[in-house]
Amino acid sequence: MMHIYKIDGNTLQVVCCPPEDVRKGDYLLVNDAATKRGLIAQVVNTGYANIPGILEDILREPSTDQVMGEDLDPLEMKTYVNMIKDAKSFTCKIRSCVVNEMLDDDISWVPSRSTSRVEKLSDEKLIKMAGVGKYHSISVGITKGGAGVSIDLASIDGKLNIITGKKETGKSHLSKLLVLGLISRRGICVVFDVNGEYTNLGYTSEGKKGPFYDKIIVLSPGENFKVTLKYAGLNVLLRTMISVLDLPATSAWEFRRIWDYLEKSNMLSLGKLGGAIQSVKNNYVQDALLRRYESLVSTGFFTDYAEEANTLENVLKKVKMGGALIFNLQNLPPTFRRIIVEFLLNKFSQLLGRWVVRAVFLFAEEAHLYLRETYWDDVITRMRHLGVFTTFVTNQPDSIPEGVYRQADNIFLFNFTNENDLDIVSRATRVDVETVRVIARELPPHHCLMLGKAVENFPLIVKVNPLNAKTMGETRMFFANL
């Protein structure tokens, strides 16, 4: 039996005696029959009720522990006393109000302490009431209570998502689940795969071709994905050289002049570009351009041969009815990685601007490894409006600027034990600090706390569905043969 103990702000304290199986993350419904209203509150912390004299009991017990004895207790009072000692206290956060079975945002009222009934709200009922995954949705997992959780496509379409948690808690697993879910709904995904984890997503866990085998296009820059200079275009290339390779403004001006000349002469090729740079009279400019040119050439990403060159338009055609372009950035030097990402983001912006493609879902694993600081704002504002809907996946929450968290529409939070990490996430997310700090610390592997629009702002602990796909990255093992 549960009773309201006190309400302070949006914090509700409930006392439960005899104790019921209510856990962190569960929802309670406080029904006030007199006002025909109810409060939905989530349990964020559990503990024992503050029973007077319990400390005395505990301190007294060791002296009687060594004493064997028998209780002739005809009223069986022991069960009552144990029940009192085990009485629990739940700290809850008020999430919403219910009026006539409909959700209401007005939580400014206080239910009656003496007549309100407090009961556990089943996950099924909450999900139904909140309308989570009501329409076109992707199934992501189940709650602790066994209720299936799906998220509406609308809640991730056009939205910014963050998947974060410590290593090996299941971040990439959820990310892959979302990718496959979006593909099944004809979504187009672009994945920056720094660990080569997504490259086998087309295969089942047994290593056979999976249902999305044809829709997973793995592109390894410099190997099966090269572009011509003409396709890259001056603007994209110049921006890349300036931002990634720190090309000075004077040299950039000279590079533009050379490019224009070669383009007009129909001589735009790597060889001619190199020759033109060699002929620059100012030694400083020549040297600066030459070093950047060599960096670009060394990536192997640019080619003069049309037959080995590719275009994003071409690969996008293959996933027109849904699919994923996996850009395998594994084993690439940091500079090369940044050149590729910069190139791709600029190019996608262009394509989206020209409506070549309607929108793409970008999955950026450990984005801090390849995304320069000034780009974060661009990704979450300008590019989002163009149609790049990003999901950041990271195990270093401090690598994502605080502003990005605040802009995030959905956060999928996996286990964190590090105080600093919890601090950063709890400060930045829009949900209360206690929910994040207490719940995230105790999440088991493959369980995540879903926050945001995907769960209609009712934080839910979800066990992520298993995936019938080859999901592991190809990590080289020393003892692989043992």
């Binding site: 029973i51 005395e56 004493v67 004895g69 009223l75």
Partner: protein, 364 residues
């Protein structure tokens, strides 16, 4: 030692009379006693009468040195407690419990009886008290019951005497430790009951020793403990004659009275040894006690454990209040605390002793 019999004997009348009294709660409501978080000492119905003995000079006081004797003598300790649980429209709700602890195989064992809950009203207190007296004292004469507020203590006393009687009849060649004294009072410790119990105990080779925490012993206005040098402990100080001189006309002493300092420290206790036992044998019994039981701060561990096991804790009080509410369909109603209402923060939490608490109550 026939201690195994203890668990088969239960004070059935406590159970039946207690449950019977609970069925008569009028208007089905009660006001539970407030259990204060800071109020660790919640056991309040302790009516052990206090004796203040101020002996004029110590010249006549004889110190008896003690030498521990280890002979595996069985040691039994008995204690009981009572507590107020709340008030009803007609009276009070209270609970009593008793415990017997004995040394066994270098450890301790206990049998605990209760709690037994009573609803005592002006209309049932006389019947209740006399029925218990009849059942456990074998007393046929009907006496008037005390004030409502002293009833819990009287019921506890009946339970304590019953447990003492049980032990006297069950044990052989043992040391029986009672909490309190071997002094007979008018109602709760009738001379006949005390006399019979001690007689049975003696016949079975037991020696009864009673430790009193309440008696305050002074010699020429100095605490008696201060007079006994730690170097001479363990020892007894014979104060029997002095106490007799002071209280002999009003009280019946079944015990020879000593001040006992059994271990170094700042405490000494009044110790009564069955008067009918030869003096040497009584002192020998104390030597067996300190040889076979742990003695800390002059108090035997067996009796300390008896006290601990019988004492009610705050959570037990709340548990019993819940039991009453659930099993007798009684509604719990809050009634404002007069002191808190009148004096607010100046009411004080620990200033409410028994008398103060009751002076404003309508039942008196």
């Amino acid at each position: 030692m026939e201690i195994a019999d203890l668990s088969y004997t239960s004070p059935k009348d406590f159970m039946t009379l207690g449950c019977g009294s609970l069925k008569n709660i009028v208007d089905q409501s009660f006001r539970p006693r407030h259990v204060n978080l800071l109020e660790l000492e919640i056991e309040d119905l302790d009516y052990d009468r206090e004796i203040k003995a101020n002996i004029a000079d110590n010249k006549r006081l004889e110190t008896v040195g003690l030498h521990p004797i280890v002979d595996d003598s069985p040691v039994f300790g008995i204690d009981t407690s009572s507590i107020e649980l709340g008030e009803t429209k007609d009276g009070i709700l209270c609970a009593v419990r008793g415990s017997i602890v004995w040394r066994y195989d270098n450890g301790h064992q206990y049998t605990r009886y209760g709690p037994f809950i009573f609803h005592i009203t002006e209309s049932n207190k006389r019947v209740l008290y006399n029925k218990l007296r009849q059942a456990y004292f074998g007393s046929r004469d009907e006496v008037s019951a005390p004030s409502l507020w002293w009833m819990a203590g009287r019921i506890r006393n009946v339970l304590e005497r019953w447990l003492q009687k049980l032990i006297c009849h069950s044990c052989r060649d043992s040391l029986l430790l009672w909490d309190g004294s071997l002094t007979a009072w008018t109602f709760d410790s009738p001379v006949s009951v005390m006399s019979e119990m001690l007689h049975v105990a003696r016949n079975r080779g037991n020696i009864t020793l009673a430790f009193s925490k309440k008696t305050k012993l002074y010699v020429a206005d100095r605490r008696i403990a201060d007079l006994i040098d730690d170097r001479s402990v363990p020892c007894l100080l014979k104060i029997d004659d002095a106490i007799h001189l002071q209280y002999g006309s009003s009280l019946c002493f079944f015990g020879r009275v000593y001040a006992a300092k059994l271990a170094p420290g700042c405490f000494s206790f009044r110790l009564d040894i069955d008067r009918e036992v030869p003096e040497e044998e009584g002192i020998h019994a104390v030597e067996r006690l300190i040889g076979n039981d742990l003695v800390i701060e002059s108090y035997p561990e067996t009796l300390r454990l008896a006290h601990i096991t019988t004492r009610f804790s705050a959570s037990e009080v709340i548990g019993m209040q819940r039991y009453i509410a659930e099993n007798y369909g009684v509604r719990i109603v809050g009634r404002p605390d007069v002191r808190q209402v009148l004096f607010g923060p100046y009411a004080g939490a620990s200033t409410q002793n028994l008398e103060e608490k009751w002076t404003y109550d309508a039942y008196l």
